[in-house]
Subunit: 363 residues, 2 copies
């Protein structure tokens, strides 16, 4: 299978996403992007035993001086304390402005490392090597970096683009089924928001994807990268269309925040959040009952939750009030106009919102 390439056409901040088998073993693509042959790899305790040595050796073989930082694994570590562990290691090793940071891991590692790169000495070069499906199709692309705050997810961060994204599809084989499904939530989101044909393709090919079929996986990852890259190029700093990619996330973040980060995986919360957002769309007359059923069916097929945990509608509303997508104090929602087409709405009446918040537990 040939490696695929998707370009994120952001001018001087533009970069390439490479998708394919065996990318981790060859460090040539990385070497091209380094200012100096010096890199700091940031990874976590789950990924390190699987892939860190391989990457270090590939870089050493190219004459690159490498140091590594191994963090704890989990969303609960996406915080100040862990971020400071990265800074401490960089300073102890006297890493300068031309040391490149490499994120080897899932969304948490990528977000933390990207934010460290954005802020260490006011910005150093940065490469993403996503090792989860979620990170390959979503979080590693587009430059959103950051950490959580006790009062809200991703509240502290920066837009900071990587110089390169390497999505090695081989690493998905080592992914636990639950993590794989969580990533599939974001795959499905891309279809729901921007591409009805891709959504249909997912309905027809979910079996092969879950079985790890390499061709099907590469196709899904590539299509998501293309969709995301196009949206990011159109609206890098999320002042418009990029907000559509937050479909399900306002509800999802409230769920994660209400449960405490890390109890549900991000993709699981997004799956339940997408059902709530789709239900709200249906109650507002935007999509049909059958559309909602297709969405629930596909998410269930992917092994995802389609109902929120036990959190009262009042508590969810309260949690959504501090979501960073709230603008001017008024809640804004990404809703579906159809499968494959979404829009941002600020005109959501209270009644259908409350019904949607209560929906899934009574459905």
């Amino acid at each position: 299978m040939q490696a695929l390439r998707v370009d994120v056409a952001l001018g001087e901040r533009g970069y390439a996403i490479h998708i394919g088998s065996g990318l981790l073993a060859g460090a040539g693509l990385i070497l091209e992007q380094l200012d100096l042959p010096r890199a700091a790899i940031v990874t976590n305790a789950t990924v390190a035993p699987l892939y860190l040595r391989q990457l270090e050796q590939a870089l050493h073989a190219q004459g690159v001086e490498v140091m590594s930082v191994v963090l704890e694994d989990g969303e609960r570590y996406k915080d100040w304390v862990t971020l400071n562990r990265i800074y401490d290691a960089l300073l102890e090793h006297r890493c300068d402005r031309r040391t490149t940071l490499i994120a080897l891991g899932g969304g948490v590692v990528g977000d933390l490392t990207g934010f460290a790169a954005a802020t260490y000495m006011r910005g150093v070069p940065f490469i993403q090597i996503p090792t989860t499906l979620l990170a390959q199709v979503d979080s590693s692309i587009g430059g959103k970096t950051g950490i959580n705050h006790p009062l809200g997810k991703n509240m502290i961060g920066a837009f900071y683009q990587p110089r390169l994204v390497l999505a090695d599809t081989d690493v998905l084989k080592s992914l636990p089924a639950r993590e794989f499904s969580a990533g599939m939530a974001e795959v499905i989101k891309h279809g729901l928001v921007r591409d009805a044909a891709f959504f249909s393709w997912l309905e027809q090919n979910m079996e092969q994807l879950l079985a790890g079929d390499p061709q099907a996986l590469a196709h899904a990852v590539r299509r998501c990268c293309e969709i995301k890259a196009a949206v990011v190029v159109e609206d890098e700093r999320e002042t418009g269309v990029r907000a559509l990619l937050n479909f399900g996330h306002t509800f999802g973040h409230a769920i994660e925040s209400g449960l405490g980060y890390g109890n549900w995986l991000h993709g699981e919360a997004v799956a339940a959040g997408m059902v709530m957002a789709a239900d709200l769309s249906r109650r507002m007359g935007l999509i049909a009952d059958v559309d909602l059923m297709r969405i629930i069916t596909l998410l269930e097929h992917a092994g995802l939750p389609t109902a929120p945990p036990e959190i009262s509608p009042d508590r969810l509303l309260d949690l959504m009030g501090t979501d960073k997508k709230a603008e001017g104090g008024r809640l804004r929602f990404v809703l579906l106009d159809a499968i494959g087409r979404a829009s941002v709405r600020a005109d959501v009446p209270a009644a259908p919102l409350r019904q949607a918040l209560a929906f899934s537990r009574t459905a």
Copy 2:
């Protein structure tokens, strides 16, 4: 006296610096820059009793909803803990992406608030109202924001431009003499690095400046803003000429770091650092003995230290090794080719460097 205006021509990130008397009392210039009539003022316990109420009232009178955060005063508070106090306050008040942060204070408040603005919800609008001479002539302009790390000053930060800088020269009257002198170190630096005529003007007008003559002050602030704005426009992210504005700072940061932040004011450390850098320039045959004497004389006249505290050359060298201006592991210095002209050198031999580090205590 008429208000002066200097433009920082950075395209879509461009902004104006207004310099003059009474700017704090009128909020019209601020109002023009707000996306929504909602602002969060960040200041410190020293500045708040003097100017916070005045600014709040001016904004209220324009219909702007205002919240304020009052931090402790001092360089030692330019850290994670204080930064988090700003985030906490913003989140508790549910400030969203269109709330404008206003820094009312000196360099520490400006750097902290700017970094909070750069990273809160991945970036919110930001206005600088510098209340010290140092902040008016230097730190409020050009978008350098950040905090200190125990292993080095300004190690964590971002380039993030304000939308507006308001330098009200009236507020300099309330500045303690020591703070005023510390700011004068950066004023002198601008002349040394870029403008021999301005350096001569300072030699002739230091008396009037120290006496608080409004015309002289406005001229000095304006000229520094012009010099700095031109340099920032040429090299926003400090990959070239902007580094010249760090003249004296490699030594100065080592002094601050060696003493513990806050024992010497930043400008005091820079003054001693500039003498060391000028002495090194002289030892390398770049400037004459008489140039060094002019520099020392002017700094002394401004009430500034011209010799470092008791820190051994070895310790200073060690502290400079982690300075973020070190690139590729090799130390680079900003040296003077003449009064009014500087350049970056990576070819400094060990012997004159050690002599310069020991110089001032034996001179």
